[in-house]
Symmetry: C2
Subunit: 207 residues, 2 copies
């Protein structure tokens, strides 16, 4: 019995573009979808659970696993390691799941280098304009002026890599962006290479 | 000013699979979509209008245009020629339209050979099973037993080419098939290569 193969779905966006809202919508509305759980060396915060929010490991263990090629992508941020485990993603794809990876353009590039191209689909979420992104970031009322300026610079840097992604969704109207993001997921499941397990039994009825 | 580029959308299916219902749904619900108008040497039937249902030409003219390479695909059926005009499709694509081509696997193959791969998206609509297709064909009550048997044979032949298409939609539940067909169209518009005209003005606001 053939098993329909899933794929890794990379979603990247500048901070403030609404990525979290959009990926939560996907998780809530699409069947057979799993959020990738990262491995990290930072300590668990209150409420964070092993295997749900992160896989927590110490620094030595993480570095050993880097050497063993266990990570599809990894990075060091403020002295802590974060990585995506190859086995975790592989198991989900083989079980027919879409594995959602919320990573930046650098992580996306590593994933593409380390996986079969047929198993990776990537989407860039773009803001509708610079001024609208700034309004959104200020609207949160959580960041200082300095942090906002830094986020805007990072947004421009992230945006410059938009054309490394397979699809681009502009989040101007949230309802439309939800429809578009879902459409990419639905369409990618229908690709010839992923329909073998569905079509072979039907073909047999014609034999 | 960049113009968003459209694409040719080939939809093929065995007879009785619900292709007409599905493509009508696309035409009624999607913006910037045009149905390809074929050129033919057969005479106009009552109610058929030049440029709406077909472009009517005589046999000599058609054969000259074959020699000139004017057709993306053509075929002779019961002594009449039918073809898809290259200029018609090109103009629509350059205007940002999706041009819907309702052709069989042989026409689809010719289109792929004669167009830039980036400008062609193809979908195969599959029936859910042989017996269900037969029930549908009998349910029409328009065909003789002989015609039904012939259609079933043609269906099997058409089906054997399913894996030459980019996407496969199984029409078991009509509502779901409508969602899936629309998702392919929406997703394909979001491909990086077709988003240049949308993204460039946004990128400029970040400069």
């Amino acid at each position: 019995m053939l098993q329909t193969r899933g794929f890794a779905l990379i979603v990247s966006a500048p901070s403030g573009t609404g990525k979290t809202t959009l990926t939560r919508h996907l998780m809530a509305t699409q069947p057979n979808i799993a959020l990738s759980v990262s491995t990290t060396t930072r300590g668990a915060r209150p409420g964070e659970e092993e295997g749900t929010h992160y896989f927590f490991v110490d620094k030595n263990r993480f570095e050993t696993r880097i050497e063993q090629g266990c990570f599809l992508e990894w990075a060091e941020v403020f002295g802590n390691y974060y990585g995506t485990d190859r086995g975790f993603v592989k198991e989900h794809i083989e079980a027919g799941h879409v594995v959602l990876l919320d990573i930046d353009w650098q992580g996306a590039r590593q994933i593409r280098d380390n996986m079969d191209a047929h198993d990776v689909v990537s989407i860039f979420i773009a803001p509708p304009a610079q001024d609208k992104l700034e309004i959104r970031l200020r609207g949160r009322k959580t960041d200082s002026e300095e942090v906002i300026q830094k986020r805007m610079q990072q947004a421009a840097a992230e945006f410059s890599h938009w054309d490394e992604f397979d699809y681009v969704v502009v989040n101007d109207d949230l309802a439309q962006a939800k429809v578009e993001l879902s459409a990419v997921l639905v369409a990618e499941r229908l690709r010839r290479g992923r329909m073998q397990a569905t079509i072979q039994p039907i073909l047999k009825t014609f034999a």
